[in-house]
Structures are given as structure tokens and as C-alpha cells.
Amino acid sequence: MTDQENSNLQPDDPETTGHSWDGIQEFNNPLPRWWLWCLYASIVWAVLYTVAYPAWPMISGATPGLLGYSTRAEVAEEIDRYDALNADLRTQLTEVNLAEVTQEAMPDLYNFSIQSGGATFATWCSQCHGRGANGVQASGYPSLLDDDWLWGGTVDDIHLTIAHGIRNEEDPDARWSEMTAFEGILSDEEISQVVNYVLAVSDQEADTSLAAAGETVFLDNCAACHGDDAMGDRYLGAPNLTDRIWLYGGSPEAIEETVRHSRFGVMPPWSGRLSEAEVRATAIYVHSRGGGE
């Protein structure tokens, strides 16, 4: 504070507030009173708002508010509304022959299935098969996008797989097969021969003499399931060993691991947990992702 008066004050200037610091003074330009009333009104509004709507945090949840407003309830209402709108499509979907649901023949049902099946897939299937349905290669979660199917790739095959799962004990209708673990049954030498044979039939680098010997081992032990031509058997879920797609990896080490200890991929059944319409929509969705047969 100084006692110095500001000599720059003009006769027309408004009054000052009386504050002065280093010769700098503050004009008093009063705020309009209605502005103050607007502030009071906003405060009243804020209080009323917290009474009317959910606001104050409590130990378990918040005060509900007198108007009973709830975003959850609104969402539930919206869901019910759309469920009601889609009820016809859902009934139709459970009755129709799945193979007939195509973009051209039944565009409404097809688009509904792609959308709702996509949502179901994202919720329940993506944990194993990936958000993009590409699986986790070499870890036993098959890609659903490619053209190779262990148990069949028609929409009805896919539907059966989703409904009952694979090799689970919860569902008696689950697809079932079990590969023998050959460690102890085959000698180490025979194992290395058959591994090289599998490498050879899948067009990979292999030791030719071992592979030649491996053919006999294969025909005696493996061909019963994988076929004489190693092309697999969909009835048993036995993979085709001649293509480029490997569920558990196609390296010599991975193949040897499979021969010695076998593999046993399990998928849960969904028909109890999801409605039939959801299972069917999901089958159509999976079928549409580029691999459907």
C-alpha cells in the first residue's frame, strides 16, 4: 500500500473501490444485480436437482432422487423395447432352415443375425477365438475365418458345434474324439520318422529317408483317423495334415509334441446358456466371416 494518489484518474472515471497497491487502483464497475440473482437461481436449481435426481454418494450406491430416474432402468426399457420389436425375427430365426438365411433370400433376417450374432460373439466367444474371430494360432483356438474346418464349415455344422461344444463332459451331444498319446507306444525313432513324414506331406522341409520310413508308421498308427492320404476326417474332428493350417503349430517340435502327448481341445456347450435364436444368429455370423462352406 502506498498513500500515493493515482494522478491518471479522469473526471468521468467511475468510483474506485478504495483498494490501492503500488499506485494501482481498482475501478468499481458493479456487477448487474440480475446477474447475482442468476447465481442464486443456479444454486437453488442445483439443490433441487440433487433432490430430484440421483446425486449424493452413499455407502452402497447414491441417493435415488425423488423422480426415480435411473439410467439403468432406461437402458433396460430400451432393451425391452428393441427385444419386442425383434421378437418376430427371433421366432422366425428359430424356425427357418439355417442354410436358407442369406443376404439375397432373407435380407432382414440375415442382417439381424449378423448384428445380433456379432454381439453375442463379442460377448461370449471372443475370449478364446479373438475379437476378429481369428483364433490364437498354434495354441489350439482355431481361426474361424479360414477355409479349414475340423468338424465341418456349413452353417448347420457350425450351429451344432456352438450348441453342444467340443469334447466337454457337460453335454452328451458334444462332439467327441480323443487322439492317442504315442509316447511309450512308438519308439523315439518311430516318432521322429512319423514327424518327418507329416512334414513331408505338408510340403515342408523334411529328412527324406526318415519320412520314407515314417509312411509305414503313419499307415499303421495314424491313418485310422487322419486317413491314408493324411487329409483328416471331419466326422472325428481329425485335422487335415496336408494343408498349411496348424491348430497347434506345424513346426517339427510342435508336431512331435502332438504325437507324444496328443492334444485335447475343449469348447463348452452354449445351448443352455444362450437362447436358440442367439446360437443360430451366432452360427450365421461365424459362417459369414469368410470361411463358411
Binding site: T16, P30, L31, P32, L36, G130, S143, I245
Partner: protein, 473 residues
């Protein structure tokens, strides 16, 4: 230090303002602008425009649900939003241009707040009389006559306010249908809410808040002040000519100002322009009209209050001749703004004429980046979006150009032809496959180009994309 002992007041009551009716050049200009702007605002949604079946026949329509903007023969799609961005930039530059040349002309003549307040003052004057009558009414008791006048005024204001809010919603839906729906109670809630909010704000801002909005609520005065310089024209008082002001016949030692307060009485902002430039002044120039009338009566030269630049003051005080108005307006700064403004305008017009009627966007699906098929082929997936902006159904052929050998498949196993109805968009999933011996299958990334061609015409659209192969990693 302040000498009074009482603490200064922090809040002030609103001072009512009773602007007097005025005649003159600028008042006429304001009438014309009010007529034209309000006319455009109210009438535009009712203009019809035949676009053929299945398209709206309203000349100007913002179709939010269909995500289209119709403006006479022009139809803007969402991906062409740069037109709107361009217009906004032009509006910005236009404001720079006008403000640097003529100060707050926007505020004084075209701002909706000014236009509607002016309209409300006109109604007030028509019902309650001019300044003196209104002042008397203000002070008088709340008797029957006062109530009658006030209520009549409020009703007319309310009608104007409803019409204002009402006109706005017509830009977003077919006007005749919406009007009928609004009247019969069938319109959407949002339509009523919009009309309601705009009615309330028009009524309150135009009827009661008036100059308070300009002074306290609006950010423009501050921003505009930053766009002006010492050459910008604003309304000012030639105090070197007017002072010392004084009443009376004997003008000995007095300036041209007869201290009649005509300029103060007409000011809608309630200020005295003779105190110098003030932030409240919206440069509406009504005080110029008022003073010019007085100057005519007293036989002095007009322009005691005038559009002046800061540079004029020093210049005229020194006794130099007046600088012509055009010299203030045409100077490098305004010319540069004009050039930029025109450049963008020309660019938009050119863009409007060369834009294609078909559009293509290709979005690669990168989860996963590629899929290995059983024969070792590599497959990439793309979602392509074809926009048919013509007004007839069209058949498009989808194709691919690449130096490498690649194959295209559409989802659902269709051939490469797709139908897209008029004014619609088609989303089609497309697979591109590289055989194991194609270079693209082993390369990291291969450039390719999608195109669509409209069957029967030669209209084509392209988009470049890349194909992800197994790469080197």
C-alpha cells in the same frame, strides 16, 4: 483513496433505457437489413424445390436423420463436410474483414440480438408511445391502463418469439408437414422443446435483457475489439468541433454541440458517445442520425458525430482535410482479408463443380491383418462403402488394380457387380486373395487400388490401399 466512508456497492440495478425514435440514413439502413434478414430467416424453409421422387422437395433442409444437407440444387453428404468447414472459415474471415474496416458493424446491424431487440423496441413504441410516454408509463402506478399496455406488448412479443423459435425447426424437417404436426400435437418432443427454448430466450433477451446481453453476456465485443486497429471506422464524436458544448443562442466561445442530448436519447445502449469510445457502443450509428438532424436545424455542417477512425482525430485536430471513407476501408489489411475470403470461396465453388457423383471409401479390416487359407493363400478383408450420389439407381462393378496377381471375392459369393439405389450407400465386404506363389503373399505390404465403375457410364472412383502379406518377420 476513495473519500466516502460507505463501502462501494458491488451490484447495480439495471438502468432502464428508453431510446427515442430517430430518422435518417443509418436508421433506414437498419430497417432494410432487418427486413431482409428476418425475411430470409422466416421464408427460406417454405421454398420448394423439386428433386424428383423419394427426395425432399424443400429447398433448404438439414436432414439430420438421413445425414444430408440440401441447399437448392446442392446436396452435401456427411463426407463432404469440408464445404461447411469452408463456409465457416469464410464467415470468420468475413467478420475479420468487416470488423477491421468498419468496427462492430456486425453488432450494430446484423446480430440477431440487435435485430430482435430493435424489433421489440418498435413494438414497444407502437403500443406504449415514444420515449417520453414510455418514461411516464414506467414511473406511473400499476393501474388498469398500464396493465393493459404491458400485457398487449408482452403478447405481441410472445407471438414474435414463438414465430422465431417456430421458424428454426422448419429448417430440419419438411415445413408444411411439421407445421401441421406442431399444430395438431403430433410433432416430436425435440421440436416442441426447441420451439420452447427459442421462444423463451427470444422473449427474455429481446424484451428484457436487451443491451445487458451485449455488455455482460456476449464475448464478441471483446473479440471484436481485438480485430480493430487505429484505421477502423467506429462511431465517434468530433469533440474538437463540438466542445465547449452549451445551450443557448449566444454561441460565443462555444462549439457546435448544443447539448440537446438527442444523441443520448436515441442510443439503445444507454450511453453518451460524447464521452469517447466505449465498449458498450455497438456502432449502430443512430446517434449520427439524431445529431445530423440537429445540425441541419442549427445550420451547421453534418458529421459532429460520425464514422471516424482513431487516426482521424489527430489528423483533423491538426487542421488537415478529412480523409475519405474509402481510404479507411481499402487498405492492405482489408485487401488481404478480401483476397483470402475470395480464394476460399472460389475454391469451394470449384470443388462443388468437380466433385464426383459416386464415392468410394475402403476400410481395411486389420483384425487379423491377414488369414492363411489351407492352400497357403493369404487373404485380406476390406469393407468398401460405395456412395451413389446420383438421383437414379445404379449398378457398379468393383475392381482391383495391382502389379501383383491378386484375386477379389465379394462376401456372399456374388459376382463383382453390386446394385446401389439412388442417393444411398452400400457397405460391401470384399476379400482379396494372393495365391501362395504371388509376390504379394510373401511381401510385407503391397500397394493396390480399388475402383468402382458405374455400369453404363464411365464414372469411376478409386482408392489406394495396401495388402498385408506374411512379410519377412
Amino acid at each position: 483513496m476513495s473519500s466516502s466512508d460507505a463501502p462501494p456497492k458491488l451490484y447495480a440495478a439495471q438502468e432502464p433505457i428508453f431510446p427515442k425514435k430517430v430518422k435518417g440514413t443509418f436508421r433506414n439502413l437498419k430497417w432494410v437489413i432487418m427486413f431482409v434478414t428476418l425475411g430470409i430467416y422466416y421464408i427460406t424453409p417454405w421454398i420448394r424445390w423439386d428433386r424428383g421422387p423419394s427426395l425432399p422437395d424443400q429447398a433448404v433442409l438439414v436432414d439430420l436423420a438421413g445425414r444430408r444437407f440440401f441447399f437448392f440444387w446442392i446436396e452435401i453428404w456427411p463426407h463432404e463436410f469440408y464445404f461447411v468447414a469452408g463456409l465457416l472459415i469464410m464467415a470468420g474471415l468475413g467478420l475479420f474483414l468487416f470488423t477491421s474496416a468498419l468496427g462492430r458493424v456486425w453488432c450494430g446491424y446484423t446480430c440477431p440480438q440487435t435485430v430482435w431487440t430493435d424489433l421489440f423496441y418498435t413494438v414497444e413504441r407502437w403500443i406504449e408511445g415514444d420515449r417520453n410516454a414510455r418514461l411516464r408509463l414506467w414511473k406511473s402506478k400499476w393501474d388498469f391502463r398500464k396493465w393493459r399496455l404491458r400485457i398487449t406488448k408482452w403478447i405481441v412479443w410472445l407471438l414474435i418469439a414463438v414465430a422465431t423459435g417456430g421458424a428454426w425447426v422448419f429448417y430440419f424437417a419438411d415445413a408444411p408437414t411439421l407445421l401441421w404436426d406442431l399444430l395438431t400435437g403430433q410433432a416430436a418432443f425435440v421440436a416442441y422443446a426447441t420451439v420452447g427454448v427459442l421462444t423463451a430466450t427470444t422473449f427474455l433477451f429481446g424484451g428484457f435483457a436487451r443491451e445487458q446481453i451485449c455488455i455482460y453476456a456476449c464475448p464478441w465485443p471483446r473479440i471484436q475489439a481485438a480485430m480493430m486497429d487505429e484505421h477502423s471506422l467506429t462511431v465517434a464524436y468530433r469533440d474538437w468541433r463540438g466542445e465547449d458544448r452549451g445551450k443557448g443562442k449566444d454561441r460565443e466561445g462555444l462549439g457546435d454541440c448544443i447539448d440537446c442530448n438527442a444523441c443520448v436519447n436515441v442510443c439503445p445502449m444507454g450511453i453518451d458517445i460524447r464521452d469517447g469510445q466505449q465498449m458498450e457502443c455497438i456502432t449502430c450509428a443512430l446517434c449520427i442520425d439524431a445529431c445530423d438532424e440537429i445540425m441541419d436545424k442549427t445550420g451547421r455542417e453534418r458529421g459532429l458525430i460520425d464514422y471516424l477512425a482513431l487516426t482521424d482525430e489527430a489528423n483533423e485536430r491538426a487542421g488537415n482535410p478529412k480523409v475519405p471513407v474509402m481510404r479507411h476501408i481499402l487498405r492492405p489489411r482489408t485487401l488481404i482479408y478480401t483476397a483470402l475470403w475470395s480464394l476460399i470461396g472460389v475454391g469451394l465453388v470449384v470443388a462443388l463443380f468437380i466433385r464426383s457423383e459416386i464415392g468410394l471409401t475402403v476400410a481395411p479390416i486389420r483384425n487379423p491383418q491377414y488369414v492363411i487359407l489351407s492352400d497357403g493363400s493369404i487373404r485380406n478383408t476390406y469393407d468398401i462403402r460405395i456412395r451413389n450420389m446420383t438421383q437414379g439407381d445404379a449398378v457398379f462393378r468393383i475392381g482391383l488394380t495391382s502389379d501383383e496377381i491378386l484375386r477379389v471375392d465379394l462376401e456372399g459369393g456374388q459376382d463383382l457387380m453390386v446394385d446401389v439405389p439412388a442417393d444411398e450407400t452400400l457397405l460391401q465386404r470384399v476379400y482379396v486373395i494372393a495365391r501362395p506363389d504371388d509376390p504379394a503373399a510373401t511381401a510385407d505390404r503391397t500397394e493396390l487400388r480399388f475402383w468402382v465403375e458405374e455400369f453404363g457410364t464411365n464414372e469411376r472412383a478409386y482408392q489406394s490401399q495396401s495388402f498385408i502379406g506374411q512379410g519377412t518377420q
